[in-house]
């Protein structure tokens, strides 16, 4: 990188109490953040208090660490906003402000607590609701709070099969919140969403709020928040409340055009609330140091807000739309080629949805049917996640299986284990053993047969571990879907790492903040015409705005080559409706591209592959 830009220097030298940096992709915001952090550290030699560098995702924190170049250990804190609010607001202060609550415990989303069936002391984790058979049946640990009204936080949820977040029915809201309240009070269990709500309440508390804010400001007089646009309503509210503390200084970085977590409750509009704080100076970074001219022009077309993206000097980039005939086959071949020719280059396959990636990797499994035995449902999900490469989730589900089988509820703590003279390491090893043994079970029979085998494993392991494996039988019950083949839900494991033929593959959310030499954006053929990029990316509907931003984030990752893999139908619609956009790309089929780029060897390889297939 050549020297800092005038915009970067302006941001670095600004003496404003709160600097809000609005940065286009590749404008060097991570570098800027690192420089400002280094400066702050340099002037704080006493090490009495530290800097909190917070991001919406863990990846964001890691990026900051890398950019600073040395370990930001105590007294500094580099992590997620969620972790910060739990560690420095909820854990120390919740019981001080609300003594009626049990000590707070954060239940990570990676544990899939929404799948848990029972809490300790018969505390319900589900809210069935009224309406008999048609009752909605909310999982209380899956509830998110995306906004609030006069009655307080609005609980929202999405259906089991995905989709947008929807507020729960008005008639369910009050009893559902009472049930949540019960969990908070009795168990002290807080999901990230719960923690954000309570952190915002604690920080705004009329009696103690000021003292708490000041204590935190003493601990962290300088706070950096990255990816501000992905902040949810209550996370944002909590941080707004904290940053209003006048003794606190801060650096807030983000880009509303890159807000891609709205599906999970983020509120991009909260960005503007931060600019209303006293002592704020907004500092835009518009010069992209990453995108070549062609990519900058493509990104501009997808950019939600007005304003240009200034391309990087001397960057010779390319952009192509490659048409696939068979998405899985062609993308795999493309990945194979890129892995061979791109030594030393950062190449990534990017897709909008996890499901597309699973399809490409061959890990796609349908949502497993529930067969009437909760521990086995957990174990089945554990094997599926394991095969899909999500090891943390797999282990958490396996833990839930043995927790439930032996203790009759999930979410067992280390303390509870020790009370039963079970060492936490031993318990974890048992979960791993159950997972790995179940993973070896054949999947050529029915899902009922698979679960029966898994039930035997679970029972035998628990019997070896303890003389009696708990009161509940862990044999599956035959319900409606028991005849379905197991392989439908548990596809053959191909790799533990999510990747295609050696090229890492991620969702757009997973590559946020990254820079690639080659970005391959996969656009699956939509089932409905109105979901085609030609419609969605330029839609004026508020629900589609995030799709546009996702595309914007995806295309702006590259500093050299952008490849968009698209179906023929999609391309045609784009050519018809967005001809000016399509003209920015070179266009050819995947096969032609491979022939052109790979020469004779690739053609021979393709023939062999095609023959085999």
């Amino acid at each position: 990188m050549s020297g800092p830009t005038a915009e970067q220097l302006g941001a670095m030298d600004s003496s404003a109490r709160l600097r809000v940096v609005q940065a286009v992709p590749g404008s060097g915001k991570t570098w800027l953040v690192a420089q400002i952090i280094k400066r702050e550290i340099a002037i704080r030699k006493d090490k009495i208090c530290g800097i909190a560098a917070l991001s919406f995702t863990r990846v964001g924190g890691e990026e900051i660490r890398k950019a600073v170049g040395y370990e930001l250990s105590h007294p500094h804190f580099v992590s997620t906003l969620d972790a910060f609010l739990f560690r420095y607001v909820l854990r120390p202060f919740l019981q001080k402000v609300h003594p009626e609550f049990a000590p707070p415990r954060l239940i990570p989303a990676e544990w899939s607590p929404g799948e848990w069936s029972k809490g300790p002391d018969r505390c319900a984790l589900k809210y069935q609701g009224v309406g008999g058979k048609d009752a909605p049946g909310y999982s209380l640990l899956d509830i998110l709070f995306t906004t609030e009204d006069l009655e307080g936080p609005v609980p929202s949820t999405r259906s089991r099969y995905g989709g947008n977040l929807e507020p729960v029915g008005e008639q369910h809201r009050k009893p559902l919140m009472s049930a949540k309240e019960n969990i908070w009070r009795r168990l002290g269990w807080f999901t990230h969403a719960d923690a954000a709500v309570w952190a915002s309440r604690i920080l705004a508390d009329e009696i103690y709020g000021q003292a708490i804010r000041r204590e935190i400001a003493q601990r962290f007089p300088f706070i950096v928040v990255d990816e501000l646009q992905d902040t949810g309503w209550f996370l944002g509210k909590a941080m707004l409340c904290l940053l209003a503390e006048q003794s606190l200084r801060g650096l807030l970085v983000g880009d509303p055009d890159q807000a891609i977590f709205e599906f999970n409750g983020a509120k991009p509009e909260i960005f503007s609330k931060f600019t209303d704080l006293s002592g704020v100076k907004v500092l835009p970074l518009t010069d992209s140091r990453r995108c070549p001219a062609v990519t900058a022009r493509i990104a501009e077309r997808l950019k939600q807000s007005e304003g240009r993206i200034m391309p990087a000097d001397n960057a010779q980039g390319s952009a192509s739309m490659l048409v696939y005939a068979d998405m899985v086959r062609d993308v795999r071949q493309l990945a194979d080629h890129l892995a061979t020719v791109s030594q030393g280059r950062v190449v990534k396959v990017v897709a909008r949805a996890n499901r597309t990636l699973q399809e490409l990797i061959g890990h796609a499994g349908e949502a497993p049917p529930k067969l009437g035995c909760p521990p086995l449902n957990h174990l089945q999900r554990a094997v599926l996640k394991f095969r899909q490469g999500f090891q943390t989730k797999a282990l958490a589900s396996a833990r839930a299986a043995i927790d439930l089988a032996l203790f009759q509820h999930e979410g067992i703590t280390e303390e509870q284990l020790l009370q039963q003279t079970i060492k936490p390491d031993t318990w974890k090893a048992l979960a791993v053993r159950c997972l790995l043994r179940s993973n070896e079970l054949p999947t050529y029979g029915s899902i009922y047969e698979w679960q029966t085998g898994a039930g035997d494993i679970l029972e035998n392991e628990l019997r070896t571990f303890r003389s009696s494996p708990g009161a509940n039988s862990i044999q599956p019950k035959k319900l409606g879907e028991w005849r379905q083949g197991a392989s439908k839900y548990l596809p053959v494991k191909q790799s533990c790492q999510p990747g295609i033929k050696g090229v890492p593959a991620h969702t757009v959310h997973g590559v946020k903040g990254e820079t690639h030499d080659t970005t391959v954006l996969i656009i699956p053929d939509p089932k409905r015409i109105d979901r085609c990029p030609s419609a969605v990316w330029w839609s004026t509907s508020s629900t589609d705005q995030e799709e546009k931003r996702l595309a914007y984030v995806a295309v702006s990752r590259t500093r050299d080559e952008l490849i968009v893999c698209i179906s023929e139908g999609c391309l045609k619609r784009l050519q018809t409706e967005r001809a000016d956009f399509v003209r920015l790309f070179g266009q050819q089929s995947v096969r032609d591209y491979l022939v052109e780029k790979g020469g004779a060897n690739t053609v021979a390889l393709l023939s062999t592959v095609n023959d085999l297939e």
Binding site: E100, A102, P104, I207, R219, K423
Partner: protein, 667 residues
């Protein structure tokens, strides 16, 4: 709205930004108000205020409350004084350990009996109080906030260790902060900020004072230099001094000559290119320079450390450590653990050290220091308010540590009284050599006469006070009220009998032999002081009052038919010739009744103006009562006065039944 907000002011759920009370909109800072009390704004004194131990070595459970500055923990052997120190050290761990090495072994887990399995888990919780605003920020992760008065917030660290079966190492965890389901590990820098210097009883002070990598002097100098605003300048100056010395040395003809010959000899032997190039006086690296420095004794005939005795080297070492800890910053809360300083010091030096620790380095400036001792010499010189007594039951499990200092200090008015009481107690401790702190039971008596006779009576009763570790303490007066709180459940919590006199009012006659005590019916009327004393100790948990009808001498004579005659002999021992005020003839003339004979004895010994002293009489009487026949039976037939007999019996029985005679009321 959810229910948890009921009953208290509602928090706004609207996206409004609270305006800080210190912000008046102009950016100026307004004065800080609630809940920052005056204490938090001014200098605070963060210190270890409580230690809670479970299942560590001999301690099944122990809570110890501590104060800033000096704390002296007295206790008998094997009560767990060293274990208390080691528990504190383990709680912080090796990160903050200075001094001896620190290892956790399987034997460090409590066992109910030698053959029992060790406990599966041990824990030590340390609570620190009086954190300043800055310290709350620095130690945030381990602070348990008190939002109604932030100055009352505490910091805590809980150390838990388990020893999984089949493992060679314990599983250790250090957590902190408020109660939590999965409390986080304490960050290492915070443990480093709670450094503990441990000076064990058998310390090798010289090893830490001589030049070398373990030099504590080097650590002190390095730490102080690093905090200096001109740190780099200081370093440069010292390095320059050494560099110049080296240059001068290298240029000296002697050194030059030797260097040259060394070079040629080495090459001759090894044929190597590597040979000595110079001879230097010291390293040029700052740290290494400091490690080469040492303390020297100006007035000593030989100045080097190895010429000193252990005692002096220990004193120097303690001085160096105190100097080091004194210079700690706001991000440090150092603790000095000093085990049995008397181990290497003669009594007079021990007294001087005690005096220094308690008066020269007062609470607010001295590092918190905990001293263990079983030296009455040292304990006698320490203000009682700084004393703690550690005691344990015969099974070695339940232990208790009570602080004399926390008794009864309530408000300013009370404090004055308390200070007066403390000074009184201090004087008594000084006179009695503080045996109070080390005894299992106490017989508090008025003076030397009782002190001489009570052990003899106990022996005649078959009670060996020494073996029972019961001390007889003369307080040289009647100020027994001083001991009310000290001996109570929150104080030393040991059984005590106060042996005093009824001291009825005396109506003087024409002559001493006509003096008449005041009566109430057919009994003597106890003095107002005695009545008040009884009222004061009424229903006291550990102390009972036993008083004579009149005085010791009267009650001795009145206790048995032959007592008075034995007393005439003892009284006669005090004089060269026949005593005139009390002798066998006078006793004969007094009449047959016990009361008349006792009055005769009392008048002759206590009321007459004669050359013999009561103390001398008691001494001779004790000697006579100790004489035995060949078969071991006492020579003299003598009946022990009931009040003394009851006093001895009460304390002896209590001591035998348990070392913890009373349970402290729940906190």
């Amino acid at each position: 709205m959810v229910n948890s907000m009921e009953g208290r002011p509602k928090t706004s759920d609207k996206l409004t930004i609270p305006v800080s009370r210190q912000d008046d909109g102009t950016g100026r800072y307004l004065s800080r108000s609630y809940p920052y009390s005056a204490r938090s704004a001014k200098g605070s004194n963060m210190h270890l205020s409580k230690v809670e131990i479970e299942n560590f070595r001999s301690l099944r459970h122990l809570d110890v409350n501590l104060q800033p500055g000096l704390n002296v923990i007295a206790g008998r052997n094997n009560v767990g004084k060293t274990n208390l120190f080691q528990a504190i050290r383990h709680a912080i761990g090796r990160t903050g350990a200075r001094g001896d090495s620190l290892w956790l072994d399987r034997d460090d887990f409590y066992r109910e009996s030698p053959s029992a399995e060790p406990a599966t888990e041990m824990s030590v919780k340390l609570t620190f109080s009086n954190l300043s605003e800055q310290q709350r920020a620095y130690f945030f992760e381990i602070v348990n906030f008190d939002l109604s008065d932030l100055a009352k917030s505490t910091a805590n660290i809980t150390f838990t260790a388990t020893w999984p079966n089949g493992k060679k190492h314990p599983s250790v965890k250090r957590t902190g902060g408020p109660e939590s389901v999965e409390p986080p590990e304490v960050p290492a820098p915070l443990l480093e900020s709670l450094p503990i210097t441990f000076l064990p009883a058998l310390r090798d002070a010289e090893a830490f004072l001589v030049p070398g990598p373990r030099s504590r002097l080097a650590q002190v100098l390095e730490d102080i230099a690093s905090r200096d605003v001109h740190a780099s300048q200081t370093q440069d100056e010292i390095k320059t001094m050494f560099r110049e010395a080296n240059v001068k040395l290298e240029g000296h003809r002697l050194v030059k000559k030797i260097t040259g010959s060394l070079q040629s000899t080495t090459k001759g032997i090894a044929g190597s290119d590597y040979s000595p190039s110079s001879i230097t006086a010291a390293e040029s690296d700052f740290r290494k320079i400091l490690r080469g420095l040492q303390v020297q004794m100006d007035a000593a005939p030989i100045t080097s450390l190895d010429a000193n005795g252990l005692g002096y080297n220990n004193l120097i070492y303690i001085a160096v450590v105190l100097e080091h800890l004194k210079s700690s910053g706001v991000d440090e809360c150092p603790l000095l653990l000093l085990e049995e300083p008397e181990a290497h010091l003669h009594p007079q030096l021990t007294v001087l050290l005690a005096d220094f620790l308690s008066t020269q380095t007062p609470g607010n400036t001295t590092p918190q220091t905990i001293v263990t001792t079983h030296s009455p010499v040292l304990a006698a010189k320490i203000p009682p308010s700084r004393m703690h007594v550690l005691f344990t039951d015969s099974r070695g499990g339940s232990a208790r540590c009570n602080s004399v200092g926390v008794i009864g200090v309530v408000d300013e008015g009370e404090k004055k009284r308390q200070n007066k009481q403390e000074m009184q107690l201090q004087r008594i401790m000084d006179v009695t050599r503080a045996t109070l702190y080390f005894a299992k039971g106490i017989l508090l008596v008025e003076g030397i006469s009782e002190a001489l006779l009570v052990p003899v009576f106990a022996k005649r009763m078959g009670q060996d006070l020494a073996k029972l570790q019961i001390s007889v303490i003369p307080i040289c007066g009647v100020a027994f009220g001083t001991f009310k709180e000290v001996l109570g459940p929150e104080g030393l919590a040991i059984p005590a009998a106060i042996v005093t006199d009824g001291d009825p009012q005396i109506t003087r006659g024409e002559n001493w032999n006509e003096d008449q005590p005041e009566t109430d019916g057919d009994r003597f009327k106890p003095s107002a002081r005695t009545v008040k004393l009884k009222e004061l100790f009424q229903n006291h948990a550990t102390v009972q009052i036993f008083h004579s009808d009149l005085t010791l001498e009267y009650d001795l004579a009145a206790a048995g038919d032959k007592n008075a005659m034995v007393m005439t002999h003892a009284w006669a021992d005090c004089f060269a010739g026949l005593p005139q005020t009390f002798n066998a003839d006078l006793l004969q003339n007094a009449g047959p009744s016990l009361a008349a004979r006792a009055l005769c004895a009392w008048r002759g010994i206590c009321r007459a103006n004669n050359a013999g002293s009561k103390a001398e009489f008691a001494h001779h009487l004790a000697a006579r009562l100790e004489e035995t026949n060949e078969n071991g039976t006492p020579k003299e037939d003598f009946v022990i006065p009931t009040y003394i007999k009851n006093a001895i019996g009460y304390v002896a029985e209590k001591v035998k039944s348990t070392v913890l005679p009373v349970e402290a009321p729940p906190a």
